[in-house]
Amino acid sequence: MLKFIGWRFGRALLTVFAVLVAVFLAARLTGNPLDVMYPDGLPPDQEQRLLVQYGLDKTVPEQFVNYVRDLFQGNFGISLREKRPVADMYAEDIGATLKLAGCSFLLSVIFGIPMGMIGALKRRTGAGRLVMSVAFLGYAVPHFIIALSLILIFGFYLHWLPSTGNATIWHYILPTITLAAHRFASIARHTRSSLLDVLSQDFMRTARAKGLEERVVIFKHAMRNSLIPVVTILGLQIAGLINGSIIVETVFSWPGIGRLFVGAVMKRDFPVLQFGVICFAAIVVLVNFMVDILYVIIDPRIRTEA
């Protein structure tokens, strides 16, 4: 077990390192950051001074070493546009994103798993088909169209809910539903197929033959086994949540890091992008690492050899 954890941890570190290298190379490909900061050009002596100040006169490998050292010292760079530390900018906005993503994640799990169960247990009835059709729609319709439809209906026509910002609790409803739609659909679909797999197993027949109540058969024997693959899917949802929050935050003017990120792409503010990618990647890698370990704890049958 310890060996397994160590091995997985090593791979996680390696991935984060690969992200660091990739981001660094991408940053060098954008050319001279001074051109972005001072679009009108600089006198040669000032330019030379700034090159030395930012360490841009060194060779690329030397720059990489400095860059990694700066990261470890907590020095994540200065925004080219706003001229302040990018870490501060992210620190201001991450709360809003975490709240939105957390609510959506909870909502999608709370609805997704029971919906998937209905889809599997009542698959030949209208209810089962309806549930899976809704899940299918949630899966195939893009975030921004769901968002705009909700804004049109509940914001413009009915005037029930606000559609921009995050001032009150009412502001959470539309973005949370939008962001949860995809995740809900994917959780429901996976729960359904995994439960269907389990339902056709021999031990289900045995459980029924023993005369157990249907409730016990479903919840104790079927659900427990079918949730194992779903747990892995939950880990992968995090990457999906981040993808989605970039769109959803922009549509709903949500003051989170997704919107910050899109803004940085448009302004070509590379230090902001760089920090964002490293943060997001680290979060995803960390979550997947924890899911892997959780997986082994839930299901002792999985061999812990790498």
Binding site: A140, S149, F156, V277, V285
Partner: protein, 317 residues
């Protein structure tokens, strides 16, 4: 070794029907491969009505996209200041535009038709690029093994662990927003699905006797890949292509919607939705029309993909 028909099983003079069946069957076929030839029309007729409808709709959309200049009633970029935000003609619009006009007086239907061309074109090229990268990487990984395999699988892990939207956004920030860059970037989406599929298939096929025989006869890796591996992965690849297509289409339209995908004056479905958003209160048709095209396209292809997966019966991880 799978020596099913050993003569030693046979008893003197008697041959049980099961053994005869085995010896008649094609030797060494991989599981799931079928001998009978199914042509497209047989499958189409056997499909449920909803799938037939989807396929017909897709054909219609494809034809519309290809023949856009002949189908579109107006020039998509022709502006007309007098006919700005005119509602669809069947809703009281004065200028006779079937789906109304946009904020610059351009015909929405014509713009949708041209956008269809751009969006579908980008998604199609993107899917093909991704498929080629993935298949080549999978074959290299499976056939060469060792360090090549490990390196490629590490890149696959990398791709899986970084949210793909971030890679694309950084790519756009670095290379700018031209249509070529966009195609290449969306092309790198999902290549890892093909790579994993191909690699798995290579590892399976390599164990079959006919491949062993081919190696013994001096076949090169290239020949084995072409003659023995590609035919075996053709059908799951088609399923993957159909399933990945809508997600690439959505990626492009999301980017264009944010304003960092296809750039004006080129119209793309996502871009039209993004531009129409500002006028949504007064001119809802600017958003509804392109959005319906997007939803219809993705729903149909997704349904076809799900159906194909069940028919061809591939297990995709």
């Amino acid at each position: 070794m799978r020596n099913i028909h050993k003569p030693s099983i046979q008893t003197e003079g008697v041959c049980t029907p099961e053994i005869e069946d085995v010896s008649v069957g094609p030797p060494n076929l991989p599981p799931g491969a079928s001998v009978e030839k199914n042509n497209f029309f047989d499958r189409f007729r056997a499909a449920p009505f909803s799938i037939q409808l989807c396929i017909l709709l897709m054909l219609l959309m494809a034809l519309t996209a290809v023949f856009a200049p002949y189908v579109a009633p107006f020039d998509p970029n022709q502006t007309s200041m007098l006919e700005r935000n005119d509602p669809p003609s069947w809703m009281g619009g004065q200028s006779g535009h079937l789906l109304g006009t946009d904020q610059l007086g351009r015909d929405v239907l014509s713009r949708c038709i041209y956008s269809l061309r751009v969006s579908v074109g980008i998604a199609l090229l993107g899917v093909i690029i991704g498929c080629m990268i993935g298949v080549v990487a999978g074959i290299l990984s499976g056939l060469l093994g060792g360090w090549t395999d490990r390196a490629i699988m590490m890149i696959v892990d990398f791709q899986l662990s970084v949210p793909f939207m971030l890679i694309v956004l950084v790519g756009i920030a670095v290379f700018g927003t031209s249509i070529m860059v966009l195609i290449l970037l969306v092309g790198t989406a999902h290549w890892e699905t093909y790579a994993r599929l191909t690699r798995g298939q290579v590892l399976t096929v390599r164990e079959y006797q006919f491949v062993e025989a081919a190696v013994a006869l001096g076949a090169t890796n290239w020949r084995i890949a072409k003659r023995h591996i590609l035919p075996n992965i053709a059908s799951p690849i088609i399923v993957l292509l159909t399933l990945n297509f809508p997600s690439i289409l959505l990626l492009e339209s999301s980017l264009s919607f944010l304003g960092i995908g296809v750039q004006p004056p080129t119209a793309s479905l996502g871009r039209m939705v993004g531009e129409g958003r500002d006028y949504m209160m007064s001119a809802w048709w600017l958003v509804i029309s392109p959005a319906s095209f997007i939803v219809l396209l993705t729903l149909c292809i997704q349904l076809i993909g799900d159906w194909l997966r069940d028919v061809i019966d591939v297990r995709l991880t």
